[in-house]
Amino acid sequence: MAMSFQKPWFLARARRRFAMTRECALLLPRVCAALADPRQPGSDDTCLEKLLDWFRELTLFDSTVQLVQDNPCLTEFITSVLALPEPSPSILSFTLRLAGILAASENRFQHLQQEKLLARLFGRDGPPNSAVWEDASVRSGWVQGVHNMMHHQPALHLLCSGGGIDVIFTLQGDPSLFVASAASQLLVHMLTLSVESETTKPLSTKDCDWPACAQMIIKRIEDSLQSSSASHIEQSLKLLTSLFGSCRATWTEVLWLGVAKQIESFLTEETVQVQHMLANLLLNMAWSPVFRDTEGSFWALVTSALEHLTPVQAGPLAVGILRLYKCPQDVRIQALTVLLQPMDCILRAASQPLEYAGLLDESVSDPITVESLLSSRSSCANLLCQTLAHLEQLLSLSRLPVDLPYTSLLRSLMTILQFCNGFLSPASPLGSTISRILINCFRVQRSALDVLAALSERKGSDTLIGSLFDLLLAYLESPNTSPTVLKKTFQATSKWLVRLQELSCSNSQGQQTEKILEDVFLVLQKRLCSPCWEVRDSSLEFLTVLIKCLRDQDEFRQSLLSSEVPRLTENLLEDPESYVRASAVTAVGHLAFITYFAPESPVVGNQYNKENTVAKLQEILSTDPEGFPRRAVISIFIKWLRQGCTGQLEDTEQFVSRVIQTVEHDLDWEVRLGGLELIEVFCSQTICQLGLLQCPYAPVSSAVTSSTHWNESLQVFCRAKLFSFLFRSLCDCDKPVGQRACDVLLGLRSNFYPVSTLEGSQGTGDSAVGIAWLQRTLRQGSLAQNFPTDGSNGVDFQDPENMMLALGAVALEELHDELNRSSDHVEKSPQSLLQDILATVGTIEENEADCY
């Protein structure tokens, strides 16, 4: 219903916000001088970061030298920092990054190089040779500075000729994770830039003439892959992984062919342990069309990796392969085997000797490794959790490129869950070991329940539904089930109950469904009385989900209403925990759809008293000391109103009026916002009902406007006291409230004023005295405090004519634009930032070191 007032110039204005204004240009030299002054205490890091953000914005669409020419203080700043004998690490780091941003365009690069500034910052004798290099922030600033600058060939040459490549390669092994990772990313960027900007003819394996910079990098990669140092190999593998992940150009294949043999050997090499890195590398390659579409060698390598890597290492590769739509069938089968093997082992471990119950064809699976992992305490849960997470990932895809054996999968999930709660202790040695390890393992329980929930949406796993509910109910009932596991059990149960209903509609499984529902509500009754608020809350959330999904099903309604659940839910409206009260409000609100508001309510007697419930919710709205329950009430009221549950227009008018008078003084702005939404819905419904419009809020021509109709609806709105709340809200101290009120008023105005008449009437100055006052006070932003009730200066918010005038006269569009800006747009401006940096110079240090 909310209208969009986005205008094309809005973006232009946002860009203007970051422009170098006259005021900023005046402040900048002083800021630069203060930053370069070693006697000043260091500026707050966030200020420096925001300053860099600003320069990034300034230079993004402007490659000219104007910025540096008009503001010579920038180059002077760099020069003076370079001249400092011992610059502070944070200022040097800032300078390096700033210089990089400025040098991102070739023009400005040349300008800065006139004084050899960049060579001094990023060249051989720069910071890498100084004592401050010890500080991680300087190394990080250097890498980021180079990365910022690296958009053209001169920058590449500066680095390659100045020994920069060596520095970056060394930094790949930096003790700081941030620096190491940034160095690796920088090399990928430089390699791509070099090949793509310096290659004159397409590269091929036969005639491979890499540009100089690329050549240097590739040589280093090849050398380190052949070295005996695991860390060097790892760094190069990491680099290749991110290269193949980000660059899909054909030259990457040429590069790959040069290193493929070496990398292949790592799969079987025992002296160098880098196998764990290979899965990611191959996965990124598999996603790249350059490799994916080739025949033969690449896929052979993937197959070999799936064979040689350990199940934990191969898992991510397998699931990645299974998500591909284009992939050779045999590779897919092998990936599926890797993924399903642990589940297969679980099934076999639980089955009787000689009874085959596995998931996989025995001829393709070699379960020894997986079995040994599952029978070890340290690896069992890890392997299972990883496998389960991968299965959930696959099942969450809307279109699965591969068929999964759903029934067996469900059986193995159930087996895992039975192991975990001690319901199954098989005789086989493997089975008994696994069951001992898994008992009460919450991690595995949670993961298995997630997959179970995801599996409910796949057809073909219905034969086990009876025993599945036995298991779910056992979990719901067991006192050993932890609150987090219980929540997941509720989620899985609600999904499978929906599935059960679908089945009972198509088959005649009515009785089974009824029994299951009865059992579910029985256990829910207990859980609603749990001493643990998390459990009560999850139970209420579960109930709401069930009502939302199943409220049209007779069996469900009957089972629910014949249980104690509705009464207990109403009791929880007085729960000591506010989260629970809020969830109870939502549940009661939804319950109403099957009690009072149902067209054929199955309720007999006055067990469910509508007035009582509404009064209770009203009471919560006006007296609950916390926001959550009050917000829940207003959301429910909006829902009821939208669904036409609040009765005839007259009743609704009174209802809305009552609610509005309660929420307009609420301390929680989100409740007030909810009140405005309620008004919006009410207005559109009233206007529709009174036949003014078919489509609410659409502008109307004067010919259609019927004065009787708008009179009537305006009278309704005035009687309901909507206008005082709407106009007051325009000056609310919380911006979203003002914005919403303005939206609603603009919507109303478009209904009551045809566009043509509005243009004529606005700003003519013929408005009544009261309206002039309203406009004035709105501008001053103080309406909320000095709201007049009478007097010559006041406005009668209940007088339709007065309100009609107000709607036409108040400059709502202007106000809308004003409100649409972020509330801290002034503080966020560059000018404010520069002023803050200047003002902080010389303030007490103590202010900086404090916690929130």
């Binding site: 917000r631 101290c733 004003e818 972020s822 929130y852």
Partner: protein, 600 residues
């Protein structure tokens, strides 16, 4: 060698947002998950991509521990658990679990109040996150899994703040979070037992400061409020919903009572009630004085402090108002500030840190003409005061805690690099332990020397005791045997028993060495010379010349052969068993020196 690795993602040489990763004996723990309020984008959260590189978060991390409810320690938690995808256990104390969502919700409301905020958690996410939290009691040992256990200690600082001991086997780390070693008006001092952890990770906010007493700061605060109210001015105190606000409320309430003051004090949010409820509920976490007087008078039931209504701001006459948010960047506090700023009789007291960009930061840095929305200029004539009431341990307190816990290593976080450097030297000098101060993203590795309990077989024990003196329980004793590591248990048994148990046959291992000697004589003559030489030198050993021409010294065997290419050189083959290794190597070095002339 076993090691403990620590990588701060936040709070490494800064006071931004705390988030520290610890790897100990194969377990990975995240200590705190804080937010930086100075940023409006993703930079406000720690960069978790460095953890997600290691695979699924929930598989990699064993647990998350939150030390206290301040947002720079817990503010990123809902983002981490509901948006980044961590689904494992989270631990904090009971009061922290109760209060954390209030502050998170308070901050969420302030944040989404501004336009253009994206990627921020919702109210539902805060709730879902809190439902995953396991609350712990002080001094309760909580078993995270079979190997990993944690234990909370009282930290002072704020209600519910705790230090945590993380223990795997016999290796342990203590993380202090923020702590205070001197009791304040409503909280006690931090305390830990002599747990001798391998590593103590301590905050160091006031690493170089010896703070003036908090009493002084409190007196100063009361004096300023009193003076303003006396001259008919209004006092605005911008606060966050909980924490410092309660402390200041107690202070003013007591002062008003004592001085019989009549000016009204208001609290602007509806949150006070809940906040005070928690202070009542967790009365055991407050200090002794509050607990003692609780029966006669509940410190948190205020007589003078009343709920604020928006219309009150325009009332004439003096008043004191607590309003949120604490940095004057939106909402109620900013609105009141705009109303009152123009009157020099009024005063605003900022009791906490303000980030750049906020009105709070601007007025604290001395700016008096502020551009507000719509190009309006607001002239600030009211008095502006900054008063830090934050309760951190100062340098003396940090040293005191180290003395209490007796750690083997110390690692400093949550402080500025320069100050840390100073304290680091002081700690190393005074306690002779290594002290580290990694920057964010840097990993510190600490090698530990854990003692591992081993069962010893009775037979071996008896045999060893029979050989040596009677065992003295207090002194360590050297034992020889075979260590069998099986099914997660360690046993020391005699070699014979080990062979028997494992079904293995015994092999003799001999070490050999060839020594070349220049001697043109025949082989048997050379042997004789060697024999005589050894007999002369090794008087206490049994040196024998065997009929087959070889020499034995104890179990060491020496044979001589002529060199195949040079008859003038003789090759002595020396071989010995493992038991006689010392003698064997002594003999070889002796022979390498050559034979003395006199024996010829």
């Amino acid at each position: 060698m076993p090691e403990i690795k620590v990588t701060p993602l936040g709070a490494g040489q800064d006071v931004g947002r705390s988030c520290i990763l610890v790897s100990i004996a194969g377990k990975n723990v995240m200590l705190d998950c804080g937010m930086h309020m100075g940023y409006n984008d993703d930079r406000r959260f720690p960069d978790f991509s460095y953890i997600t590189q290691n695979g699924r978060l929930t598989d990699f991390l064993d647990c998350v521990i939150i030390s206290h409810f301040h947002l720079d320690h817990c503010g990123a938690l809902p983002y981490f658990s509901e948006m980044v995808g961590y689904d494992g256990p989270i631990y904090m104390t009971h009061p922290t679990k109760a209060i954390c969502p209030i502050l998170l919700e308070d901050y969420r409301k302030i944040t989404v109040d501004k336009k253009g905020e994206t990627n921020f958690f919702t109210s539902q996410m805060i709730k879902d996150c809190m439902k995953k939290v396991v609350a712990v009691h002080l001094h309760q040992t909580v078993q995270v899994d079979e190997e990993l256990e944690i234990k909370a200690y009282y930290a002072g600082h704020v209600l519910g703040a705790a230090m945590f001991q993380i223990k795997v086997g016999c290796e342990s780390v203590v993380y202090t979070g923020d702590y205070n070693m001197t009791p304040d008006r409503h909280l006690g001092a931090a305390w830990i037992d002599k747990c001798r952890p391998d590593l103590l990770i301590s905050e160091s906010t006031y690493a170089t400061t010896i703070r003036d007493s908090k009493r002084c700061r409190e007196r100063d605060f009361l004096k300023k409020v009193h003076e303003t109210v006396e001259r008919g001015g209004k006092v605005l105190i911008p606060v966050f919903a909980l924490g410092r606000a309660q402390e200041l409320c107690i202070l003013l309430e007591t002062f008003w009572e004592r001085m019989n003051l009549k000016a009204p004090i208001y609290f602007s949010t509806g949150l006070t009630e809940k906040a005070n409820h928690y202070y009542k509920l967790f009365i055991t976490w407050t200090n002794q004085k509050i607990r003692k007087t609780f029966v006669q008078r509940n410190m948190f039931e205020f007589k003078h402090i009343k709920a604020f209504d928006r219309a009150f701001a325009d009332n004439p006459g003096p008043m004191v108002v607590f309003a949120t948010p604490g940095m004057l960047h939106a909402g109620q506090s900013l609105q009141i500030f705009r109303k009152w700023a123009g009157n020099e009789k009024n005063m605003v007291i900022m009791p906490g840190y303000c980030v750049q960009g906020t009105v709070g930061h601007k007025i604290l840095s001395g700016q008096r003409k502020l551009e507000m929305e719509g190009r309006q200029i607001l002239e600030v004539k009211m008095q502006v005061e900054y008063m830090s009431f934050s309760a951190h341990a100062d340098a003396k307190g940090i040293m005191q805690l180290i003395r209490q816990a007796e750690p083997r290593n110390v690692l400093l976080v949550h402080g500025e690099a320069k100050k840390m450097e100073f304290l680091k030297q002081k700690i190393e000098q005074e306690f002779h332990v290594s002290c580290y101060m990694p920057a964010n993203g840097e990993t510190t590795t600490i090698f530990t020397n854990p003692s591992i309990p081993v069962d010893i077989s009775l037979g071996l024990l008896k045999r060893e005791t029979a050989i040596g003196l009677l065992p003295d329980g207090k002194k360590p004793k050297l034992m020889h045997g075979t260590l069998i590591m099986k099914d997660n248990s360690f046993r020391l048994v005699s070699p014979e028993q080990a062979l028997k148990e494992l079904g293995l046959a015994e092999h003799q291992l001999r070490f050999t060495c060839r020594v070349h000697i220049q001697d043109p004589r025949k082989e048997h003559e050379t042997v004789l010379r060697v024999y005589n030489h050894l007999k002369g030198v090794l008087k206490d050993y049994s040196v024998q010349h065997l009929p087959d021409g070889s020499i034995t010294v104890e179990s060491i065997l020496i044979q001589a052969t002529a060199h195949s290419e040079d008859q003038g050189t003789k090759v002595l083959l020396v071989s010995w068993t493992y038991q006689d290794e010392e003698l064997g190597s002594y003999l070889t070095s002796l022979l390498k020196k050559g034979l003395p002339q006199s024996t010829s």
